[in-house]
């Protein structure tokens, strides 16, 4: 750029010089400016897709698979060393495989050996908003279950089928405490009834993150219509996560694992003598 001092007065000349110098300085500064803001991490309350038995609003990243294995040891912890605090078994177990076609959708197929229950469910993460600094996450879950080993019935009997729906509401308070509510609906609650019965339940749970990878969690499912099942199902435990796994160990009064089973209730009261050990391990995979 050519700078000419053409002003007649000294003031004009000085002004022109300043303008000229500032123009040179501007040219020497890089013209580059940041074009986009840094990526914001997605909103989240819980880290795993389930707390213990109840679902969270979390899904997986699109394209990911999740394998899970979960046990409920039938002997109570109170049986002591004779039953190795329950670890001698027998156990009820659940094997599950989930797949996320998108970031919002999770399809899980699972089987529990309790009544040979097959379970197919779809979870949709509908909403994640921040209101006054508090994240609110909403998901819907719908599923169908088929028990193929109901005493006195053929495997294919229509009365062995159950359907359920859950609304999942999650939030975080005080930065490290995640809370959830799961109003739930179950059709054909009691497999041994001739006419199907439907009912509503309310799952409540919380998780306190002691560190970024270690947490304690607890859940409770409030229900009414449970016939011979005397108690609500509850559990309290600890959770450890790595970048690809969750390890959960807990005490529970329920030995039922799949949703159409644990929602209904349990034979055992939530008392020290009746608590059982359980664990769950999940592994995330991408092929």
């Amino acid at each position: 750029m050519l700078c000419e001092l053409s002003g007649r007065s000294l003031v004009t000349a000085a002004l022109a010089l300043v303008l000229c110098l500032s123009s040179v300085a501007a040219q020497d500064r890089p013209q580059w400016e940041r074009r986009t803001e840094a990526t914001e991490a997605p909103l989240a309350a819980f880290h795993a897709t389930r707390v213990i038995s109840l679902p969270t609003a979390e899904t997986l990243a699109g394209g990911e698979w999740q394998f899970e294995i979960s046990h409920r040891f039938l002997p109570a912890l109170s049986e002591g060393s004779d039953a190795l605090w329950g670890l001698d078994g027998p156990v009820n177990m659940r094997l599950g495989l989930g797949y996320a076609p998108t970031n919002r959708l999770l399809v899980t197929f699972a089987r529990s050996n309790f009544m040979d229950n097959w379970d197919l469910q779809l979870k949709f993460r509908a909403l994640g908003v921040e209101a006054g600094g508090v994240p609110i996450l909403v998901a819907f879950l719908g599923g169908a279950a088929w028990s193929t080993d109901v005493p006195g019935r053929d495997a294919g009997d229509a009365g062995n089928r159950q359907y359920y729906g859950q609304l999942i509401l999650n939030t975080v308070v005080a930065d490290r405490v995640a809370l959830g509510l799961v109003p739930s609906y179950l059709y054909n609650v009691l497999l041994d009834e001739i006419d199907p019965v439907q009912d509503f339940y309310l799952g409540v749970y919380g998780q306190v993150f002691l560190t970024n990878v270690l947490s304690v969690n607890a859940e409770w499912t409030i229900g009414e219509n449970r016939a011979e099942l005397s108690s609500d199902a509850g559990a309290v435990g600890i959770e450890l996560e790595t970048g690809g796994h969750f390890f959960k160990i807990f005490l529970t009064n329920s030995v039922r694992l799949n949703p159409s089973q644990y929602l209904v209730g349990t034979d055992f009261p939530f008392e020290a003598d009746e608590l059982r050990l359980g664990f769950a391990i999940t592994r995330l995979l991408r092929f």
Binding site: M1, Q27, P30, Q31, W32, R34, R35, T36, A38, T39, E40, A41, A44, H47, L60, A61, E64, N103, N212, V213, E241, T242, G243, G244, H245, L284, R286
Partner: protein
């Protein structure tokens, strides 16, 4: 083939190539000079780290690198290059390791991206050599910062001409403890605390013109 003759031919060729390289190192690639280059964000840029873990290696990738390089006028010898300047930044919350949960761990537990959203490298070019193939080899010196901890680093990069743009490739190692990054545990086994960092990105002349 006469083996001795073949070897002497190869050696002679090396001598010639080295001589040519030396010649080009002295004679500056003048078309590079006097330009400001910006990262061409429309191109398929790639920033990748590779972690060596006992059970499985994993990597994290992102396209989100931005920044600039300013090369002064002149011959681009060591003296002229002291007026060079560059700044590059990588949006590290965008790094994808292939597993969503692992991304979260990386963001929240190790890199703390809420507080330190960018990894940056700012400094100047110390030396540019042009090889007979037309590839430039550049030694850069500057401050590499990640997780809020700055370290002086020398990094060697190559630059290939791609039309009016330059394709830059660099590779260097980052020791996590140098940047106060706790070593991630994977299945209770520690991963290697030295990460391999690879960059492959395009620079295009800013504003389509030379700096005056």
């Amino acid at each position: 083939m006469n083996w001795a003759l073949f070897k002497s031919f190869v050696n002679a060729d090396r001598v010639v190539r080295l001589s040519v390289a030396f010649l080009f190192a002295v004679v500056a690639p003048s078309w590079l000079a006097g330009q400001e280059y910006h990262v061409d964000v429309e191109q398929e840029n790639l920033v990748r780290f590779v972690s060596d873990a006992p059970i499985e290696d994993f990597d994290g990738v992102t396209q989100r690198i931005d920044g600039f390089l300013v090369l002064p006028q002149g011959n681009l010898g060591v003296t002229e290059l002291s007026a060079s300047e560059f700044y590059f930044e990588v949006d590290i919350a965008s790094l994808d390791t292939g597993i969503g949960l692992r991304n979260r761990h990386m963001r929240d537990n190790y890199l703390e991206t809420d507080e330190f959203p960018y990894a940056t490298f700012a400094g100047r070019v110390v030396r540019i050599d042009e090889e007979p193939s037309g590839r430039f080899r550049a030694l850069t010196k500057g401050v590499f910062a990640v997780h809020g901890v700055e370290r002086e680093r020398e990094v060697e990069c190559t630059a290939d001409r791609a039309g009016r743009s330059l394709r830059i490739s660099c590779a260097f190692q980052v020791k996590l403890s140098d940047h106060n990054i706790p070593i991630p545990r994977l299945m209770f086994l520690k991963i290697n605390e030295v990460m391999e960092l690879e960059l492959d990105f395009f620079l295009a002349p800013a504003g389509g013109g030379e700096r005056r």
